[in-house]
């Protein structure tokens, strides 16, 4: 948790310094995508090598998918209402 936040905090001033350097900006964007690819691949390896998950994939999978779909929809509706009723687009103001 602490290291996580620290990584972002170290990046911000460096990004600020190099914000007008097109070379750095495009490389950061490209490296970001590759870091995501590697992480998702590793996530797949963890899932695929877990014996319990693979053997009971049917039941566990349906339950898990059901919960995540409804949690995503529920939270998306909640922030949609939050924006419409309370924030009223204030997050977009400059």
């Amino acid at each position: 948790m602490l290291i996580t936040v620290l990584c972002i905090l170290i990046g911000i001033p460096l990004g600020f310094i190099f914000r007008n350097n097109k070379h750095v900006v495009s490389n950061v964007n490209r490296l970001t995508m590759w870091a995501i690819y590697v992480l998702l691949f590793m996530l797949g390896v963890t899932t695929g090598s877990n014996k319990t998950i693979v053997s009971e994939l049917g039941t566990i999978g349906v339950q898990a998918a059901c919960i995540s779909v409804f949690c995503v929809l529920g939270s998306a509706c909640a922030v949609f209402l939050l924006d419409k009723l309370f924030l009223k687009g204030k997050l977009d103001e400059r």
Binding site: A35, V45, S49, V72
Partner: protein, 199 residues
């Protein structure tokens, strides 16, 4: 969409490799993904730094930003109840515990498994991975139908790290700041909420 399909194919490739009889042990080592995550976060920090104006938004909003993670917690709980109605053969407590992972699969899985329910732990792992993947793949759709805060909500705790680049890409750096803030609040909440629900 093309980007999402590439991401999905990397995940599927990982599943196939992980399912092989002899998985190279260095692949199962947590260190590699941990350091990749750190590198990713550093890069994300840099892209936040590229937008020099985005700090104004947090100053303008004050305490209102706290409403975002609050709404996400309430919305996730409501979604859990809906899922519970559909699943039927699962106690509401278990559904709440899985939902309260907010995409933070590693931690919620470990807590639930350690509290004596490895099967529910697997459900939590899979469900929270799916939540992360849904966010990675569905962000364009979520933005279109529920507004720019929707991927922040969908990402939950992962909005501060793994799903942050996608959120920034389809919304703006401003929402990236909100995502980091909301993700941090939810990340801190996960261990407390899951433990509280399970006891």
């Amino acid at each position: 969409m093309k980007g999402s399909l590439i991401i999905l194919s990397f995940f599927i490739a990982g599943c196939l490799v992980g399912h092989m009889e002899s998985v190279p042990s260095w692949l199962l080592n947590d260190a590699l993904s941990t350091y990749t995550l750190y590198a990713l976060l550093f890069l994300v920090g840099m892209s936040i730094g590229f937008d020099s104006h985005c700090w104004q938004i947090l100053r303008q909003l004050h305490l209102k930003v706290l409403l975002v993670p609050t709404a996400i917690v309430i919305g996730t709980a409501a979604g859990s109840v809906a899922a519970w109605c559909l699943i039927a053969d699962m106690p509401l407590r278990d559904v709440f515990a899985v939902g309260a992972g907010f995409g933070y699969y590693s931690l919620s899985t470990v807590i639930i498994t350690n509290m004596g329910d490895p099967i529910l732990g697997s459900v939590a792992l899979l469900s929270n991975i799916i939540r992360e993947i849904l966010t990675l793949l569905g962000t364009p759709l979520l933005v279109r139908f529920f507004g720019k805060l929707a991927p922040v909500a969908s990402g939950g705790a992962t909005a501060m790290d793994t799903t942050l680049p996608i959120i920034v890409k389809f919304t703006s750096e401003r929402y990236g700041i909100i995502a980091v803030f909301s993700g941090m609040v939810l990340t801190v909440l996960v261990p407390f909420l899951v433990t509280f629900i399970m006891t």
